[in-house]
Symmetry: C2
Subunit: 338 residues, 2 copies
Amino acid sequence: MTAAAERPAIALDVMGGDLAPDATIEGAIRWARTTGQRAILVGDVDVMRGLLSKGGENPSAWRLESGPSTIGMGEHPVQAVRSTPDASIRRCAELVRAGEAQALVSMGNTGATMAAGVLLVGRARGVDRPGLAVLIPSREAPTLLIDVGANAEARPEHLRDFGLMGAVYSRQLIGNPKPRTGVLSIGEEATKGSPLTLAAAELLAESTLNFVGNVEPGGLFNSSVDVAVCDGFTGNLVLKAFEATAEFAVGELRAAVRRHPYTLPGVAFMYPAFRAVRRRTDYAQYGGTPLLGVNGVVIIGHGRSNAVAVENALHAAARAVDSRLVDRVADGMASISR
Amino acid sequence: MTAAAERPAIALDVMGGDLAPDATIEGAIRWARTTGQRAILVGDVDVMRGLLSKGGENPSAWRLESGPSTIGMGEHPVQAVRSTPDASIRRCAELVRAGEAQALVSMGNTGATMAAGVLLVGRARGVDRPGLAVLIPSREAPTLLIDVGANAEARPEHLRDFGLMGAVYSRQLIGNPKPRTGVLSIGEEATKGSPLTLAAAELLAESTLNFVGNVEPGGLFNSSVDVAVCDGFTGNLVLKAFEATAEFAVGELRAAVRRHPYTLPGVAFMYPAFRAVRRRTDYAQYGGTPLLGVNGVVIIGHGRSNAVAVENALHAAARAVDSRLVDRVADGMASISR
């Protein structure tokens, strides 16, 4: 681990993602050319060799690991990871567990990546429930929302733990010295919420965190907190609501522009703006979503990731390894008075 | 009640809403001029007289009821309704309970209106938990989402009941003969969801409803269901996420337009389009949100409602009374095999 700690080894799931393997290999090449570092590529070895050559790379300069199978969207994540020894995501997780890599990056089936992370990479010291975190674009610094789908159910202490892990991430990787942490709820008043959020707020108020109370969905966009916690069902639903609304609003705007005689001349001018908003509201641009609380860095990118998004996810993984994220999370969890 | 049944009597909470009492009185006048019917106006009688005169109306032609107090946003809804006998919303609910009105419309504190509805108007026959429903703008017909905030917790049978009440509303007021009903969840696959949604889906599948399974937030916008059910915490959060994202996306687009040299000439052309999208994503335009399962028609408008939104909410209330919504909901609930 010592040599690797100087130069982080990252296992890239080449077969995962809608645009894989072309976009994943291209992303790995881009990252290598920017940083001088090569990810460990996991996938169908012949295909990877071919794409590396096509991209102007010498395949023998890269470490290629065989993992040709993929896990489809319809499969049950835990069962599929267990029953598919040659799945690329499973091989990536095994490399992290063996200490041959410190991080894995996948654009594949989110459920399968979480399952591989929890089952094979394993929980970090002191962590009961890992949580999937996402950076929400915001007017100022992005807000970290956790959990967005690792667990469909949670107890109040899990939300407290998500707050602790999220605060470590925010401190180490976003540079907030004392991240403001809130509970995602239906009103800012302390009395508003579900039994789960009310109990979690009490635990967070007693913790060492800079707890600022409840935050509404709108607060995620205006930087009123740095970290917001919720159960995975709620977080996943809110995230999907964000994506769906952004798509709907932009679509309606396009339609409205076309419908109004006064705005029609503006259409041609609008395309760069539409593209910019799509980028701003696409959380994958922010380097993927980290699965916090596992014993290695696990970064999950959007299924639609292109080569630039893959490169960004590799950057995020390297920064997480460099900042010793996993150890810091374990330290943070150890500090809880249970 | 017989005379009133021919011409619905609607109690309007004149004091409720950010733009009250001006916008509420103006909305009542607009509705009266369109339909020839006058709502019962509940508020500060002197203020109402003054505004009616200013609007060109003869105050003595209107029924004015005294209810000069309002319930503020910071107050606990149930306690405030109980301890404020002269609150306008409480007086409205008392008129419905006494059979002097068949409907009430309020743009005031949503919690207080729900509390007044449940405590004073009372539950409809066979209903355990009333649910607040909202119409989500959609590519085709709007989707009814229920519950968006009446209860912070729900059991599976409550979600089933929301489905039954929502289907009645969709049939009677939107004209869907066999409304497609779904459970709002994090994936369309039947295995995806929380313990609550999974259990509710089983109950809905056994019911007489046209149950189509899970629906994701994006499905609300593309008319893949007519009615979607969820617990009130989830629904309220998703609704707030919709509003926040629409505002953020439109704001970002404005900013992007201003930033790009190519799009700058388009700015002036864009304002009608921005306004159109704001209208499309503002659910108050669709005539307010009905509280279903109480023993009278209760329509809650957006706090920011202007006179047109007030008029629309009065139209929605009258249509609900005309279609005998309350009786139909009770009939629907009676049909459940418990």
